[in-house]
Amino acid sequence: MPNLPDPIYLAIPAFVILIIAEMVYGRATGRAKYEPHDTAASLAMGLGNTVSGVVLGGVFVFWFSLIEPYGLFDIGWAWWAFVLAFVLDDFVYYWSHRFAHTVRWWWADHVIHHSSQHYNLSTALRQPWLSPLTLKFIFFGSWLVLLGFPPAMIAFVAALNLIYQFWIHTETIGKMWAPVEWVMNTPSHHRVHHATNPRYLDRNYAGVFIIWDRLFGTFEPERDGEPCRYGIVRNLGTYNPIKICLHEWVGIIKDVRQSKSLGEAFGYWLGPPGWSPDGTRDSSKILKARWKAQQEAEADPGKVAAE
């Protein structure tokens, strides 16, 4: 087994340099906005994520060591295995990410990354602290190990995947060369993913290759006439990292405690974000339907009045 470095630790100096470069460039051109409280919150979340990775990382090691002997094949360390693992990991990332937006238990963890109303390179580092405790890695991280890829190889390519996603958190890069936009996840595609405009909600889940969204019907291009509004449907009123980290967990606990039945409790816990028994809250599905109805009403007021 080769001694693989942790690419994220190696990339941290580059992250710092690129954030400063974007900040200076943004100041000079107005094409990137940084606000100190928001920047501090995002970077503090990034640091906390690193600490939690060290503290809670043992959970991953334990699980993957446990299932490694049950791998279907012994794939080994050939160069092509790295390439294949990278592509398959990105495929798994797509689904893991999609479920992170559609199951509140996992959204409670992932929402942290979406909780800034800014979109710049520091937003890329706004990451959750409690991910291992959601056990999402069991559902989505196990497949490649069970296929027979070495866990260290998967950890390595997953880190490369995350490093790739750093540079796409920027407004300084417009649309890129069409073939690149067609195949790869780009700043333009990922801006859509971070936007709360109803048209853009729950779209573009890709990590590295946008083809997964094209294949599975979740792709939405960025439109010139519809600038992205960043953040979450109910934006946070705090820069406090602890509150940012815990806010959706607190919401789940509060809702589950007030549930009138077991079904309601499960709905609040594992249903889509914004789910409520009577539909009075705003889930993405409800927002999109309301927005669509509004669009139709504006396009053809007579028809809607007649209906």
Binding site: V16, M23, G26, G30, D38, A40, N235
Partner: protein
């Protein structure tokens, strides 16, 4: 170097880097503190974030244009817009979202059932206006809970 030394070095350097980046951000500027233009912008700003929120005519902007309130046309929700940094955070409040409302001089203070947004203070033009709004908000809670609309407060 042991793993522990590496970890402590990385974390220490990261904390220092964060401090320097934020200091640089504050030093360079480049953002404009958000402000609400006028009373009509309260409702229009909330409508952008809260799909279907139809602002009514009963609205108030605080004296430094950093926060505003507006009842929606149905009287079932109270829109709140508060400037934070260079962005505006909004809420479409229902009576159950408001824990308490109080007045201190010309300050109207809303305590909210909201983990990340527990309080909003609006400095209104004069104390009487703050009192009137506090009454309106209390009546909003009582009227809506009783199933009546609060479209236009007395």
């Amino acid at each position: 170097m042991s793993d522990l030394v590496v970890i402590v070095t990385v974390l220490g350097a990261s904390a220092l880097a964060i401090t320097l980046i934020v200091a640089l951000n504050a030093f360079m500027g480049g953002w404009t503190p958000a402000r609400l233009d006028d009373e009509s912008s309260i409702g229009s700003r909330i409508s952008v974030d809260v799909l279907g929120f139809a602002p009514g005519a009963h609205q108030v902007l605080d004296s430094d244009r950093r926060a505003g309130l507006v009842f929606d046309q149905s009287g079932e929700r109270l829109g709140l817009a508060v400037c934070r940094g260079d962005k505006i955070t909004v809420r479409a409040l229902r009576p159950s979202d408001i824990r308490a409302v109080s007045v201190s001089g010309a300050d109207l203070v809303l305590a909210l059932e909201d983990f990340t947004f527990p309080e909003a203070t609006l400095r209104l033009k004069y104390a009487q206006l703050a009192k009137r709004w506090a009454n309106d908000i209390e009546r909003f809670g009582a009227a809506t809970q009783a199933g009546m609309s609060h479209a236009e407060p007395a």
